[in-house]
Symmetry: C2
Subunit: 599 residues, 2 copies
């Protein structure tokens, strides 16, 4: 570790220098909260997305969709984002800088979760603690705190404006199309729909590099279930070991992590819902496979105050970077909230027909009012009286037991003869009922996952007497699979053979970088620093010996090198990349090259 | 072909029913110009993107980046989009509907390319032809035509607003980061940078399904070259045959396509620049591989009026659907326009240092004015006089040949003794110079490519006496690789074995659909209709015979079936999907199952 720099600073510096990510539009002074992924970062991010798709869409047999990022206003009226998706804003009276009021309080007091406090209390806390503007030091006491909606607004089309918003989460693009997606699932629960794409939040003060940005990528899965019938295949992940940090432990004085298995956590109701347990188990394995350091990883349960009111249980996957815990995914049981809301606000059908095992006979109370009597008696109100009688019959059949029945229409009570209402109870055969599916939502932040992978992969050691820094990225996500070098660049034969190796590897689907500039040691360091798992070098020794032509393969983390016949190169790299063999196996099978022999 | 429906209508209907794409937010009445890709469409689109990435990024050794979709205003001041990215809007005085004035003219007159006409002329044409509102029939003569900027605008951050725009093309996310990307390319030309991502245009009247939408996906490559030194490897594509429609042929009375090769087209200067020729050749091969019908495909050169003023030559790749030609990609020689603009508007360095083969000695004229004389003489203007002398020395050394020299400062002429200016000409050794690279831009519309693939893949024929419709999508892009079915769903052994086949195929990387509902014939039709190349069926015959357990493989386009041992299934499907063998080869090697034997 290099002295004064924090892990985050070192990461930001490396990320920019080596093309992982950097603040966007820097030529124009930048735009806070927007980042561009350079060649290495774009490849790493894309590999993370592919790995997520493979696990959460393909392996689960789910449906992936791709919806627009701009959606019309009614969607967000229904979802609640138009009214409730706010942060607390306080503006400095001196310098005009905007701050998140809850963050100021959390930074300067012992309070946590200030976000859940009412605005008046936040204003009072700012005054009580005499909080100052972090930018210019002006006193903020007495400044009003305002709700600021985090959605980016725009206008769709010309002329009289139709407001549209950049989606604050990919989820709405799935929920709003449920009436169509359920058809692709042949109207049969359970099924899952996924989406990987951009989401936008107009953060008041973006922070921490790519951890809290204004434009980011989510990978979300909406699992639609019948809450009374559907259960996950918990057996598949029952034995997966997890580090849990339940709400009770967070609130206890001597609270601690619970090290357990997914199966036990669900059995003992530490995790409240088996679907949440199922996805927690899958996520644990997935994070491990892509290279998150599981000693710096936990699942933390939301405290009651953190949860949305409709969420029955919610857990976050968190990774540790720089001593802070970062939320990198959330697992929420959202009940029927989302689909019910869209069902209520739109004209479409957000239910699924649940077939009974056997058709049922049900009694259905109804009326068939004699309009030739109601019409003359109630005039223009007759229709409303009829509707009120129908509603009453369904709600409270007992009301029709007397000789007359009373209904309220627009605050006025009307009395109708039970005979005129024509009340009756009929038997009906029904084969099922419409239910609103419940939703379990695993929601992943892709940028934060990338950030975690880079932070956890960073290492420094000594090779050939020199300090080197390297990224021990998993081959699953590393931007480049193989670096290929001629030992020297001024010998045509070596250059030509190296180029041929590049072509072969690319044709076999490997992502390859060719490099012939600078010393071979420098070229190895360059690849170490961007996390390339293997480097292949074409040298004279390999082409001039008696045996078949050969090249060296160097492993990044240990800097060990072996010599392998060129004809076997693609096959051997494939077995190692796929995990079928380890590099240790190759070391057993081939000649180990002495360190520094060609470096 | 089914009677009255046009190709486009049939496609839209199939796309919605089978989950390719449909108008977004339909539950709320929809939002014109926004589409959601359903499970099949998202997979097809993602496969097209992967195929593009493989060809234009990986195989070419280019750098892929991923930039934000929201960019700050100065970017678009420099790029010219803020001022010039307009369409002509006319609003109906009766119904208020907005229309593109140029489209109205093109639809109702013989004029083409009305977009390039000045606004006054467009207004006159509307009046002359007495054009009417397509929506309500009101007369539009006399209505004013206005420029409407097509960028979606939003505000970044709270407080005093900072305007931001959704990028109208992915290209700007590359150009604006050129100062960083060139470092990843080690400041050495030529290199290419690519990006696949969303772009946005607030179209006045979106049309034609996913062909002209307000949010769409582009795949763009910016090839940066030294115009005096860099040449493409034209040999690689010299023999590729292409159908060209040059500007001269479009304007000739008996104009026709030119069937030629890329090499000849460049030699004969039909294609004006070898880099354009190179990318046209690569694109031709790529489109063919992913399944565009090359009989419904051409490269059309822009007419002089269509080209941006800075573009030296520009060709579009066009596909035919429904009798219309759709622009699906553009290939433009953009010169140094983009980088020069950003260099001019920003403080960053958008040049590359071009090293001379040998250092050169150059004469450099300069002054070293004696400020002890200038100061007293010119007072506060002395600094400006000095700067003017320096600029003049560089611009016009001959001006210093007399005894005095005149310079203008703020409109006033000052006379300085040549001695006081201390003029001299020194020799300097310079190793190179800064140049602004030129850009060649192949720009692909992903949605339009998806649209073309679906339209060109659609077919109808008769199988087992029934009409079927199918999509003959290439295995490279088909959403699902393999459908797997138990012949019947009520025999546990068949279901279990089919599930095991699904697991094996998924583990081997295939995208698989399992289906056990309905008759086997119906299941085949379902997969035919979404373009799944192969279906595997587990039946009793395969499990009960004497030999090894086997399954049938059915090919989509011909509906032929063969019987293959289960243990060889993965390997055989891999050889066919990779193109190493054809299904005909498999038919030679294995038993052909009689048609209808299990259907």
């Amino acid at each position: 570790m290099s002295g004064a720099q924090t892990e985050g600073e070192r990461l930001a510096e490396l990320a920019k220098r080596r093309g992982y990510f950097f603040g966007a539009s820097g030529a124009y002074g930048g735009a806070a909260g927007f980042y561009t992924f350079g060649p290495q970062g774009a490849a790493l991010k894309s590999n993370v997305e592919d790995a997520w798709r493979d696990r959460f869409t393909v392996q689960e047999g789910n449906f992936e969709v791709e919806a627009p990022t701009i959606m019309p206003e009614p969607v967000f009226e229904a979802s609640g984002h138009l009214d409730g998706f706010d942060d607390m804003l306080v503006e400095c009276p001196e310098c005009g800088e905007s701050h998140r009021a809850d963050h100021l309080i959390e930074d300067e007091t012992d309070l946590e979760d200030a976000e859940s406090l009412p605005i008046e209390e936040v204003e009072a806390l700012i005054a009580d603690h005499d909080l100052q503007c972090p930018n210019c030091g002006a006193h903020l006491a007495g400044e009003s705190v305002e709700s600021f909606n985090l959605m980016f607004e725009t206008n769709i089309g010309p002329g009289s404006s139709t407001p549209g918003y950049l989606r604050p989460e990919t989820a709405q693009g799935i929920f709003v199309e449920f009436p169509r997606i359920k058809e692709y699932a042949r109207n049969s629960l359970p099924f899952g729909a996924t989406q990987i794409g951009r989401a936008y939040r107009n953060e008041i003060s973006p922070r921490k590099s790519i951890v809290r940005t204004r434009e980011f990528t989510q990978a979300e899965l909406e699992q639609f279930v019948d809450p009374e019938r559907d259960e996950p295949e918990l057996d598949e992940v029952a034995d997966v070991e997890v580090t849990l940090y339940p709400a009770t432990e967070q609130q206890a004085d001597d609270g601690d992590y619970v090290e357990t298995t997914v199966g036990e956590a669900v059995d003992e109701e530490i995790i409240g819902d088996p679907w949440i347990g199922y996805f927690v188990g899958i996520a644990q394995e997935w994070y491990e496979r892509i290279g998150v350091d599981m000693d710096r990883f936990r699942f933390r349960q939301h405290l009651a105050g953190e949860r949305a009111h409709y969420a029955a249980d919610c857990w976050d996957a968190e990774s540790e970077v720089d001593g802070d815990w970062i939320e990198i995914a959330g697992f929420a049981y959202r009940g029927d909230y989302d689909l019910s809301k869209h069902g209520e606000y739109s004209d479409d059908d957000f239910t699924i027909f649940r077939q009974y095992d056997e058709p049922k006979t049900v009694e259905r109370a109804g009326v068939d009012p004699d309009m030739s009597v109601l019409g003359p008696e109630f005039g223009g109100a007759a229709g409303d009286v009829k509707a009120a009688l129908e509603a009453l019959a369904e709600r409270d059949p007992a009301a029709f037991e007397g000789e007359t029945v009373d209904v309220d229409v627009d605050g006025e009570t009307h009395t109708v003869d039970t005979d005129v209402a024509n009340f009756s109870v009929d038997e009906e055969r029904v084969s099922g009922e419409h239910i609103t599916p419940h939703v379990i939502e695993p929601s992943f932040g892709v940028d934060r996952t990338v950030y975690t992978l880079l932070a956890h992969a960073y290492g420094e050691d000594e090779v050939d007497g020199e300090t080197r820094s390297y990224l021990s990225l998993s081959p699953t996500v590393a931007p480049t699979d193989v670096g290929v070098f001629p030992l020297v660049s001024n010998v045509d034969e070596l250059v030509d053979r190296a180029q041929a190796v590049v072509d072969d590897l690319r044709a076999a689907g490997f992502s390859v970088v060719y490099d012939d500039s600078g010393s071979i040691g420098r070229r190895y360091r360059r690849q170490d620093e961007v996390g390339t798992p293997f480097c292949v070098t074409v040298d004279r020794d390999g082409l001039e010996g008696d045996g078949p032509d050969s090249v060296t393969i160097r492993e990044r983390d240990t800097a060990r090198q072996i010599r392998v016949p060129i004809d076997d190169l693609v096959a051997e790299l494939r077995t190692v990349e796929s995990g079928a063999r380890t590099f240790d196996d190759l070391v057993e099978a081939y000649e180990l090259v002495a360190p520094g022999a060609n470096a």
